[in-house]
Each structure stands twice: as structure tokens, then as C-alpha cells.
């Protein structure tokens, strides 16, 4: 019978030593909402579980919109949802995280877990990519900072080396007239894995013309995609019908989805375009300071 070890280190160094020195498979445990399901189903058979929740700074939100926020890797979604300043500056990031699973999942699930589980359909990831978040990674060779889009490399795989784990995320300072949003398509109203997800982050000038944009689409490729062409369709434009059409086309063109029990290639591609349009409208409204722009 496989024997499973568990450790709850209280410092970064201790955690790194445990992970780097593990003879078999070692997995980081923050919220556990993916890991425990994988353990129970036998999909994951680690030898060591390293629970990072006792490491100081691993959970919590600090900073401000203007200076930039720092979010502890293991911060539960419910804590992000309750953080008024973060929600005001980055409603897209918060709502994306908030959509994962149920209220119960929200009590535990974390941005780092969602990112490092590296599901193509992870909800928070398109919003994090669109936000240009940075992952602060610690490991045997010290600390390094990496744009989040460089972390997932394939379904279930990340670019983290043995012994490394994410300590926190940094969100960049928020320029004026900026807004982000995330929508996903699911067959029910809750509790489903995204069939398609889209996160868009824009900065506009005082006239409402887009000066900067990042568009990310999820569940349409082996990893979440940052779609440059879609961003380019927005930059320099207002959100008129022609821009929406170009955005839709660019989002669809980037899709490389599969047929699976959650969606077909054709359907996912079409809906990617639909969501891109709807998300852009909300992001632009938020950037323009329009009250009541929500995704529900």
C-alpha cells in the first residue's frame, strides 16, 4: 500500500528543501480542491504532500490599485471576493476566481492552485493573463519573477522546476480608464468547467479609444491562450460594430480546441467569438467608469 507523507512547513526555505529533496513525487497543497480530487480518483499518486498554508505571506492581499497588488499564492477565492479595493481595480480577476466551483470551493481554492493545475479550462487564468500578472516563484535557486502566461506549458504541466513553488502574484499598477472582465460559457448556471472562457483587460484614453489591451481565451487549446491578434483588433479603436466583428474573428481564429464531453470544436470556436464580444463590452464599460457593469 502506497504510503503518503505530509508536511506543513512554516518557512519558504523549509518548503523548498522538502520539495527539492523529495525522492518521489511531491505536490504542493494550498486549497486542495484539485489535488484531493486527483488523489481520491488515483489520477495523482504523490509520495509527499507539502502544505504551504503555514508559510507567512502565502495568503492575503496587500498593495493598492496605483502601486499594484500583491496576492498570496494560497489566498482562497472567498478572500479575494471580499477585498473591496482589489475588486474595484480588478473586477475581472476577482470574478474569474469567484466563478470556480461552488461557495464551498471558494472557501479553499487559490489562484496558484488554479494556475499550476494547468487545466486548459481554468477560470482564473485568462483573467490573470489579461491582467499581465507576474508570478513570484521561489525555489532552490532563489526567487524569480515570471509572467503568468509562461507558467502553464501543457495540460497538467507547468514550467516550474523541481523544488519550486509560487509564493505570490503581483498585479501591475492600474492606469486610469482601465477595466477588465471575464466570462465563461457553461451549460448550467453554476458548477461546470468552462466550455470556453475569455478574459479581457483594456486601458482607454479619455475619448474611449483603446490604448492597451490583452485578450486571453481558455478551454480552446492545450493551454490558455493570450491572443495577440485579438488585442490588436482593439488597440486604436473604440468598441464599435466593426471592432467587435474583428475581435470575434480574431478570437475564433486563435482557437485550437478539441472535441470532448464538454464541447465540440465547432461550438467552442463559435462561442469564443461570442464571449470575446460580450467580455469586451463589459471591460470597456468598466474602463469608462460606467456603473453597474457586471457579468451576472
Amino acid at each position: 500500500m502506497p504510503s503518503l507523507n505530509y508536511a506543513a512547513p512554516t518557512t519558504v526555505d523549509e518548503a523548498v528543501k522538502l520539495l527539492a529533496g523529495a525522492s518521489g513525487l511531491a505536490k504542493v497543497l494550498s486549497g486542495g480542491t484539485d489535488l484531493l480530487v486527483q488523489l481520491r480518483s488515483g489520477r495523482m499518486r504523490p509520495d509527499l504532500i507539502v502544505d504551504t498554508k503555514k508559510i507567512p505571506g502565502i495568503s492575503g492581499v496587500s498593495g493598492s490599485a496605483s502601486a499594484g497588488f500583491t496576492i498570496g499564492a494560497a489566498t482562497p477565492g472567498a478572500v479575494l471576493e471580499a477585498h473591496e479595493a482589489l475588486k474595484k481595480a480588478w473586477p475581472g480577476v476577482v470574478e474569474a476566481m469567484d466563478l470556480i466551483g461552488s461557495t464551498q470551493i471558494q472557501g479553499r481554492a487559490s489562484l496558484a492552485g488554479n494556475l499550476c493545475n494547468a487545466s486548459p479550462a481554468a477560470d482564473s487564468v485568462p483573467a490573470l493573463f489579461a491582467a499581465a500578472a507576474v508570478a513570484v516563484i521561489v525555489g532552490p535557486n532563489g526567487k524569480r519573477e515570471v509572467p503568468v502566461e509562461q507558467v502553464p506549458t501543457a495540460p497538467g504541466r507547468t514550467s516550474l522546476a523541481k523544488g519550486e513553488f509560487i509564493l505570490e502574484f503581483k498585479l501591475p499598477p492600474r492606469p486610469a480608464h482601465s477595466g477588465d472582465a471575464y466570462l465563461r460559457f457553461i451549460p448550467r448556471t453554476e458548477m461546470d468547467i468552462a466550455v470556453v472562457g475569455c478574459g479581457i483587460n483594456v486601458t482607454l484614453d479619455a475619448n474611449g479609444t483603446c490604448t492597451a489591451a490583452r485578450v486571453a481565451v481558455g478551454a480552446v487549446a492545450p493551454t490558455v491562450l493570450l491572443v495577440d491578434a485579438a488585442a490588436k483588433a482593439l488597440i486604436g479603436h473604440k468598441l464599435d460594430d466593426a471592432t467587435l466583428k474583428a475581435l470575434d474573428a480574431a478570437a475564433q481564429a486563435a482557437c485550437k480546441p478539441i472535441n470532448d464531453k464538454r464541447g465540440t470544436i465547432e461550438y467552442r470556436t463559435k462561442v469564443a467569438g461570442v464571449l470575446a464580444r460580450r467580455v469586451a463590452a463589459i471591460a470597456f464599460d468598466r474602463a469608462l467608469g460606467k456603473a453597474g457593469a457586471t457579468t451576472h
Binding site: 507523507n5 480542491t33 481520491r40 461552488s102 464551498q104 479553499r108
Partner: protein, 161 residues
């Protein structure tokens, strides 16, 4: 690995237990502590029948390892009533016939209490979305939501219990 020795406060009582690494908190509650009120419906966090409150957060106990409970404060269905004094959510579930087979009921009651602790005045839509993680196959949710809204009114002091 030898079993873990864990100390936590469960339903107000300081509690100690031994568990293997792979035992979830749900396994511990049911198999080690005899608290079988929390149920296993799926063991994958999709049904909410195992819902408990840990350090003030509503969670699925099937998605938490027993050893993660060290130093935490946990409320299970067994701790919702105070002696023989039912919580308003429990009372309203009975009055509204918001349960049929009763299997999802412990999870729903814990989740509803957590809702009303956080938001004493939810709309119907807010209540439905909060409780989306608690599957019920018998009631169609209608009487459940009515019971929760009615309990909320009682707890806000807007009507007699």
C-alpha cells in the same frame, strides 16, 4: 508514515484524533469521530453533502485532509442546533417541508447558515447561487429556498420564529 495526531475544536469541543495522510476531513468526521451527520455524496466536491464550516469558511470536508485540520475551529451539522433548540434554518426547513429524503439536508443547512451569517438579507437569486454547490435531487430546491428566505427574515427580527 505514522498516523498524524491532530488537535482541533469541533462544535465547540477541543478534540483530538489520529488519521492517515490520505484520510479526508470527511473520513475523519465519519469514521474516526462518529460524526456521521456529514455525508459522502461524491467525494469530489461536486455535491456539497459533506459541507462544514472551517475557521468561518464554508468548505467541502471531502476536499480537506484530516491533517489540515490542525489548529482549526470546525462546525458540523451536529453543532448547528444548541442542545434541543433548533437553529432558525433547521426550524424553517421542517416547517416548509424543505427536505424529503434528508440526505442532502445536513450540507444544505450548514451552507444556509453560512449564507445567512455572511449575508443576512439575500435575494432569491443570491441564495440560489450561494447554494449551487449543494445538490438536491428530491425537492427541486423550491421549498429549500423558501425556508432559507423565511429563516433570514426571522433572524433579521422581521417576524416571529
Amino acid at each position: 508514515m505514522a498516523k498524524h495526531h491532530v488537535s482541533a475544536v469541533i462544535n465547540g469541543e477541543p478534540t483530538e484524533f489520529l488519521c492517515e495522510t490520505q484520510q479526508t476531513m470527511l473520513d475523519v468526521l465519519r469514521d474516526e469521530l462518529g460524526l456521521t451527520g456529514s455525508k459522502e455524496g461524491c467525494a469530489s466536491g461536486d455535491c456539497g453533502a459533506c459541507s462544514v464550516i472551517v475557521d468561518g469558511s464554508l468548505v467541502c470536508s471531502c476536499l480537506m485532509l484530516g491533517c489540515e485540520a490542525e489548529g482549526t475551529t470546525i462546525t458540523t451539522i451536529e453543532g448547528i442546533a444548541q442542545g434541543d433548540h433548533l437553529h432558525p434554518v433547521q426550524q424553517k426547513f421542517l416547517e416548509h417541508a424543505a427536505l424529503q429524503c434528508g440526505f442532502c439536508t445536513p450540507g444544505l443547512i450548514v451552507a444556509s447558515k453560512a449564507l445567512l451569517d455572511e449575508n443576512p438579507n439575500p435575494t432569491e437569486e443570491e441564495a440560489r447561487y450561494w447554494l449551487a454547490g449543494n445538490l438536491c435531487r428530491c425537492t427541486g430546491y423550491d421549498k429549500v429556498i423558501r425556508a432559507v428566505m423565511d429563516a433570514a427574515a426571522v433572524m433579521r427580527g422581521e417576524k416571529a420564529a
